[in-house]
Symmetry: C2
C-alpha cells in the first residue's frame, strides 16, 4: 500500500501486531473516515485504528510519536468544519469501540463514560434514573467529540455548553502519558483548569479517553411553542426581552424565512415562510405554566402571531426533531449542491444586525442561505448551498463567509459559537485572537512538540499568524 | 535599602522613574502588603507598585523580566491561602488603583471592569440597572483576585463560580505582551480556552488587567430560611434530596455545632448550638413560594425543626451578613490564637462522611474547629484556631489538614473547592493530580519561562512533584 504521509508505513507496521484486525487499511474504511457532513474535500487516512482501552490509545500515541506520524481522532464524524479529516494522512484514531457508559452516580448526578458513547445512547441509559445529559447539538454526536469541539446546541441557553457540563477528563497526551484533569467534585480551585484547556482543543492537545459528565434532572413538565413574526428584528427583540426578563427558557430558536422554505421543501409541508421562534420551558407544572404565560405576553408585544403551544412530550419531541433536521432541510433547496454550514456568535444586542446583515449578504451574492439560531446565546448558523466544482460560486461563498466572520468580530463576537475551528475557521483565528494565537501556539508546542496531533487544524501556520 | 531578592534593587531602580510616588519602599507599605487574613508568616515585598493602566503593568513586567525579579499580584488581599504573599521578595503589583467599572451593557447583561474593582463596588454601581454580579465569597474581594483564584462562595450552587461568570479577560503575560482571551459573545468554540486557563492560575501565568463579566437579573423575590437538624448527617441528607429534587436553591449552607458556638461567642447571641442549614430561593414570587414550600416539606422529612422564613430583603441581608462573619466568629473561640481556614470539596454523596470525619479528627487532635459549607456543591470549610508559635499545636494542625485533604481525595474530591492552592495546598498537588502536575509545569514554563510570576506558589518544586 502506498501511504500519503511519509511516516505512516513505519507506524502502521509497528501498530499492526498490537491492533490486529482493529487496524484497517482497506480503501473502503479509509474512504469512510475521509468523508464529512460538510463541503470539505475527501481526505482519507493511511489507516484507521480502533482502540478499546486507554492503554491502547497510549501505545498508539507512543508509536506514532516515535515515527512522527499524524494522529487524528474521530468520534461520530458529525463535525461540520472538517475537524476529523486527516488532511496530512497518517492514522485516524476511531473512538467508536470505546463506547461504554462506565458508571452513573444518581446521588451525585454525574456519569462516567467512554468518548465513543453518543449523547442519545447516554440518554437512553439514563432514562430510568430520572436524569439526563442535556447538551443537544442536534446530531447524535459522540460525547468525546462534543467535548473536543466544545459543542453546545439548542439547550445551552439553559444548561450551558460542554464547557459547563464536563467535570473531568482522562486524556492521553501526544507522548502517551495518561492524565486525569479533575475529580467528581462539583468545583475545584486546585491548579490550572486542564479540563477546560482540553475542551475545545479539537484533538490537537491530547486524546480524550474518558469523561465525567454533569447530569441534570429530567424536567417534571415541558411546554413548547412556535410563533411567527413579521421580521427577524422583531423576533430577536422578543428574544432579548425574554432573556432580560429572567425567564429560564430551556430552548429559544430562530428560523428565518428561507429556513421555513427549506422545511416545506424537505417535508412537503405548507408552513408560512416567515421568521419563527421555537421555544421550550422546563420546570414544575406551575412554573412552566407561569413562564409560558409570561412568554406569550412578551411575544404578543413584539407582534408574534399564530402561537401554538404544546405540553405533550411526543409533540415537543417532534418539534425539536424537525428543528434538528435543519441541515437536511437546507439540503432540499437547490438540489444537487452541497451544504456549507457556518456559525458565528455575537452579543445578543447586536444579533438582529448580524442576522439581517447575513441575509442581505446572501441576497447580494446570489447565494441560497438558511438561518437558524440558538438566539438566546446570540449564536446563529447559515446553511449555504454550493457546488464545490463551481469555482465562481465558491468564490462568492468565500466572500460570504469572510464577511460574516468579519462582521461578527466587528460586533464584538466570535467567528464560531459552537461548530469550532476545524478547517473552516483557521483563516480568522488571527483576526479574532491577535497575539493570543501565539500563546495558543506555545501551549501546543509545550504539549505536542512534534505536532503529531491533528496537524493542520486550529492554529494558522506560523508565517500567516 | 537592603532588598530581599537579589534582582529587586535593579528592578526598583528601573521602575522608579516610571512610577514615581506610585512605587513604595517604605517599611509600612511593605509590611501592609506582606500580611494576610490567615496564619501565614509575614512576607513583605521589596517594593509595592501601583500601576493605573495596562500599559504600565506591561512596562513593569518587561523590566522585572529583564532583571529576573519576582512579581506577585495583589488585589484586596482577602485570600486565605497566602496567594498574594511575595515569599521570595521582589515586587508586589497592587491592582488597587485599577478600580474602575469601564462599561455596563444592560441588554447583553455584561460588564467590563478593571481588576481592582471589588464585588460590592460593582454591585453598588449596578443597583439601578436591575442587574447583579452574583458570585459571593463573603469577603469584599477584588474581581481580579476572584478570577485569579477561581473564587465561588454561597451562591455558586445557583449561579456558578468565577469559572462560569467571566466571559473574557485582558491579560499581561510575563514578557509584557498583552492578550485578550475572548469576546462579549456568550459562548465560543474558536480556539483554546485561555480565559479558563487564566482563571484559577493565581497570578502564575499572567496578570489580569481587565475582566468582562456575566451579569444576572436581580431576583424579583427572595426568600430565606434557617432550620436546625439533629445531626450533620441529617442536614446533609436533606441537602442531597433538595438538589436531586431539582429545586433551584440560590444558597444552601451548613453550619455545624461549633460554628454556632462561635456565633454565640462573637455576637453575644443565644442560638442553639446544633447543626443548621441556611437556605435562600430566588425567582418570581410564585416560584419562590412554591420552592420554599417544597423545601419546607423536604426538611421536615429529615427532622428539621425551628424553621424560620423571611422574605424581607433586610432580614435576608442580615442573615447572610451573619453567615459571612463565620471567619471572625471562629476567631471568637480560643481568643489569642489565629484562624487557619481550609476547604475541601467532595461529591455530595460523600459529604456527610467527609464532614463527620473532619469533626472527629478535630476532636481526636484536640483542635477547635468550626465547619461551614457550601453544601449544595459538596464544599466545606474548617476554621481552626491555632497558635503559630506553639510548635506542638502546629504539628497537630498539620496532621489535621493532611488527613482532611487525604480523605477528600479518597472520597473522590479535591483538596480545595474554592480557596485555591496558594501556599497551603501545594503539598497535596501531586497527590491530587499525579502526572497532570507535570503538564501544569509545562504550561507554566511555556508562558513564564523565567518563573517571575508569583514564584513558590501553585506548583510543587520539581524534585517533590
Amino acid at each position: 500500500m502506498q501511504t500519503i504521509h511519509p511516516a505512516a508505513a513505519a507506524a502502521i507496521a509497528a501498530l499492526a501486531p498490537i491492533f490486529g484486525d482493529r487496524l484497517a487499511t482497506s480503501a473502503s474504511v479509509r474512504a469512510q473516515h475521509g468523508g464529512n457532513e460538510a463541503h470539505y474535500p475527501e481526505a482519507p487516512p493511511d489507516a484507521v485504528v480502533f482502540p478499546e482501552t486507554t492503554q491502547e490509545v497510549a501505545a498508539l500515541l507512543r508509536i506514532c510519536r516515535a515515527q512522527g506520524c499524524p494522529v487524528t481522532a474521530v468520534g461520530a464524524a458529525s463535525a461540520l468544519e472538517g475537524h476529523h479529516l486527516p488532511i496530512h494522512g497518517g492514522i485516524s484514531l476511531s473512538l467508536a469501540r470505546m463506547n461504554r457508559v462506565l458508571a452513573v452516580h444518581p446521588q451525585d448526578m454525574d456519569a462516567v463514560v467512554q468518548p465513543g458513547v453518543t449523547r442519545r445512547q447516554l440518554n437512553e441509559e439514563l432514562r430510568a434514573t430520572g436524569l439526563m445529559f442535556p447538551v443537544d447539538p442536534g446530531a447524535d454526536a459522540s460525547l468525546g467529540g462534543m467535548a473536543a469541539t466544545r459543542a453546545s446546541g439548542t439547550t445551552a441557553v439553559r444548561y450551558g455548553t460542554m464547557r459547563d457540563n464536563v467535570l473531568a477528563l482522562e486524556v492521553v497526551l501526544a507522548d502517551g502519558r495518561v492524565i486525569r484533569t479533575g475529580s467528581r467534585a462539583r468545583k475545584s480551585s486546585a491548579g490550572f483548569d486542564l479540563t477546560r484547556l482540553m475542551i475545545g482543543s479539537e484533538g490537537t492537545l491530547g486524546i480524550i479517553t474518558e469523561l465525567t459528565l454533569k447530569l441534570h434532572g429530567q424536567p417534571e413538565a415541558v411546554s413548547a411553542a412556535t410563533c411567527r413574526f413579521g421580521s427577524v428584528a422583531e423576533a430577536v427583540d422578543c428574544v432579548i426581552a425574554t432573556i432580560q426578563s429572567g425567564l429560564a427558557v430551556a430552548r429559544i430558536e430562530l428560523l428565518d424565512e428561507m429556513m421555513l422554505r427549506g422545511f416545506n421543501a424537505y417535508q412537503g409541508s405548507d408552513l408560512p415562510e416567515e421568521p419563527h421562534l421555537f421555544v421550550e420551558f422546563h420546570g414544575s407544572p406551575a412554573s412552566v405554566a407561569e413562564q409560558a404565560e409570561a412568554f406569550g405576553d412578551l411575544a404578543g408585544e413584539y407582534g408574534a402571531s399564530a402561537m401554538r403551544w404544546t405540553d405533550r412530550a411526543e409533540e415537543c419531541r417532534e418539534l425539536w426533531h424537525m428543528r434538528h433536521q435543519a441541515h437536511y432541510a437546507t439540503g432540499a433547496l437547490d438540489p444537487g449542491k452541497r451544504t456549507l454550514a457556518t456559525d458565528v456568535c455575537v452579543p445578543i444586542s447586536r444579533l438582529a444586525e448580524a442576522v439581517t446583515h447575513a441575509q442581505s449578504l446572501a441576497r447580494e451574492l446570489n447565494l441560497t442561505s438558511t438561518i437558524v439560531g440558538h438566539v438566546g446565546d446570540g449564536n446563529f448558523h447559515c446553511g449555504l448551498r454550493v457546488d464545490p466544482n463551481d469555482a465562481e460560486e465558491m468564490a462568492r461563498l468565500h466572500r460570504f463567509t469572510d464577511a460574516l466572520a468579519e462582521n461578527a468580530l466587528l460586533l464584538g463576537g466570535t467567528v464560531t459559537g459552537e461548530h469550532g475551528v476545524g478547517l473552516g475557521k483557521i483563516a480568522y483565528m488571527t483576526a479574532e485572537h491577535g497575539e493570543a494565537v501565539a500563546v495558543m501556539r506555545s501551549l501546543k508546542s509545550a504539549l505536542d512538540p512534534k505536532g503529531i496531533l491533528n496537524p493542520g487544524k486550529m492554529l494558522p501556520p506560523q508565517d500567516e499568524g
